[in-house]
Amino acid sequence: MARTNAAQKLEPLPERERFTARELLAIAEAHIDLKAVGEADRKYGNDYARELADLEAGNHPTQRAKNAG
């Protein structure tokens, strides 16, 4: 897989605990109400992504209001 420059700097340290996708899915099923969180992702995910994109671009209404004084 091609890595970005930022990712190339990151290498796993020996003491880090590694998890596989299978183990992570088992954790998700044991600890998370996937149906409820999935519903929240569906209902609010697009709005949330838009808000974050606006924040990253400095174009969020709260930022515009702050800049306007």
């Binding site: 998890f19 996708a21 992570l24 969180v37 995910g45 949330y48 709260t62």
Partner: protein, 141 residues
């Protein structure tokens, strides 16, 4: 701090999306975002392992665009994995996670406050569950 290889991160993201029939495609940008979050969280926790789930949640939430549209499930999974990895169980429900995520996005909560939230909800595996606090109404004077 936990570590997840690129193929496993992508497999998890796609598996979470496929569970809901979403045709989302993730690539090395999502992997880079997750790895950067691991690195940043490790620095922020500064060797205090019990702060690592909180630090990871903060770092991943700030990059949640990279994991859209399964960001909440992906982030919660990795945070629970981090807690499991240090021998703790994390008792935060998805509504609390959602509120905290929104506060992080809007810059309305810092690491210190978030750390307090997590500290109150981490329990070592095998530890007894605290009994619920019973509050008595004040007696009328």
């Amino acid at each position: 701090m936990i570590w997840v290889e690129a193929d496993d991160l992508l497999a998890l993201l796609h598996a979470l999306a496929e569970r809901d029939g979403l045709a989302a495609r993730f690539d090395e940008r999502a992997v880079a975002a997750a790895w950067e979050a691991f690195e940043e969280a490790e620095q922020r926790a500064a060797g205090q392992s019990h702060d690592e789930p909180c630090a990871l949640f903060l770092s991943l939430s700030r990059r949640s665009l990279a994991f859209h549209p399964v960001a909440r499930r992906f982030i919660e999974t990795l945070v629970h994995a981090q807690a499991t990895g240090i021998g703790y169980e994390l008792n935060i429900n998805h509504t609390e996670f959602a509120v905290l995520s929104a506060r992080i996005a809007l810059g309305g909560i810092d690491f210190l406050e978030l750390r307090g939230w997590f500290a109150a909800r981490l329990r070592a595996f095998g530890a007894k569950r605290e009994p619920p606090v019973r509050r008595r109404l004040p007696r009328p004077k």
